[in-house]
């Protein structure tokens, strides 16, 4: 290893941390919008997979497999540069990013919702019908409240995935944390310090969320629905 000419200048962090923080807020925002979209898509796909209509089952399964298999990075480019140009569909960078996150997350969410709904014993549904609840009522009042306990921990894990996925939206020009770090490092020529800061912020964020999941799993596990 040769002698390095690189001068470490940790003062840049002191100077630019508000910018980085602003970027972080955008990262969190886009991941949250993506998450809301994932949940909605996940519910639709999960119900589609559990449908009695074979065609709906096939379609939902294909959509799930499709978005689980295509890399988020490719999907992002496909939506932002490919799809929107081809069909003259003007999307902002933020919208394209949130959409890509939502589609990928939705596919994973579908599996989680499906498993959660199936984990509720069938006797619960039968009992709901027996006391005269409609199909809609028994889903909302009986099945979902029980399924949600099972769903929450894996759902938060998916959110961590989306948060990590949200770092790549800067490639289409969303001014998220990494984008800001890159931008500032061009100005200050201190990439190591800035990327280190971004990395540390990210790790502490994901670790605290996964610590929360661990806590939730123990807490919800105790009152797990069983046969």
């Amino acid at each position: 290893m040769r002698n390095s000419n690189y001068k470490f200048d940790w003062n840049v962090i002191e100077k630019y941390w508000p910018e980085i923080l602003k970027g972080l807020i955008i990262t969190i925002q886009i991941s949250l919008v993506g998450m809301v979209f994932s949940i909605l898509l996940g519910i639709c796909l999960a119900n589609g997979k559990l449908s009695t209509n074979l065609l709906i089952v096939r379609i939902s399964t294909s959509i799930t497999e499709l978005f689980k298999s295509i890399p988020l990075f490719v999907l992002l480019f496909w939506i932002y540069y490919g799809f929107s140009l081809k069909f003259n569909f003007a999307l902002t960078e933020f919208q394209a990013g949130a959409l890509a996150l939502g589609l990928t997350g939705g596919a994973y969410m579908a599996e989680v919702f499906r498993a959660g709904l199936l984990a509720v014993p069938i006797g619960q549904l039968e009992a709901a019908y027996a006391i005269g609840l409609s199909k809609m009522q028994s889903s909302i009042l009986i099945i979902y409240p029980q399924a949600i306990r099972i769903i929450i921990p894996p759902m938060v894990n998916i959110y961590i995935g989306l948060l990590k996925g949200a770092t790549i939206v800067s490639v289409i020009g969303v001014s998220d944390m990494i984008y800001v770090a890159r931008y500032v490092s061009l100005e200050t020529f201190a990439p190591f310090e800035l990327y280190s800061l971004a990395g540390i912020i990210f790790i502490s964020l994901t670790l605290s969320i996964s610590g929360f999941v661990y806590f939730l799993e123990r807490k919800l596990g105790r009152s797990k629905v069983d046969g």
Binding site: M1, P71, V74, Y195, F202, I203
Partner: protein, 228 residues
Amino acid sequence: MTDNSKSFFEFEAVISSWEILLKGFAVAMFAATLATALAIILGLVVALMRLSTVAIYRWIAFAFTQFFRGVPLYVLLVWVYFGLAIAVNINLSAILAGVASLALLNAGYLSETFRSGILAIDSGQIEAGLALGMSKQDVFKEIVLPQAFRIIIPPMGNQYVDAIKDSAILSIIGVPELMRESQQLANLNYQPFEFYTCAGLLYLIAVALVSRGTNRLEKRFCTQGAQN
């Protein structure tokens, strides 16, 4: 919708540059496969460290898993390639930086998989092995690992799929893999839709093949229950 005199979708450019795309696809698969192979070795080492009786090994392994499971690939890649390499003045080739980052990240996940796979083996199995006079090492090699292997086939396959998908991110540091080539061709021909669709399809095929392979392996090795 745009009104072109030519047909709406033009895949001629994609077809005529199939050679470049295929080469990019090969680079992507190479990077993902090499990274997964390295991750399996490293992951096993870390898993064993986590199960070690020496506290310091356990801590190091724990820190390793937490770190590499928490950091996104993009951040790691940028940090290694643009940050670390510049700071300590080493000439890191893009593919090396990419494969190393991908391997470290996957090793973090795989070590947890291996650990739970090893822990899932009934302790009676180990006791029985020891009672038969086998050495500790032999018990691990002949009894624990083969059984744990069956349990971890599906998650290992998933990890390989993730590595293939994540390899697309290597394009940002200039690894000439499928996504990088697609980006350049898309800009050159001004046909982003066609080229990105093609790239997506190729990833889809790769993932489908790996999933099918994993299923087949699982069926072959997991016919009997692995527990007890």
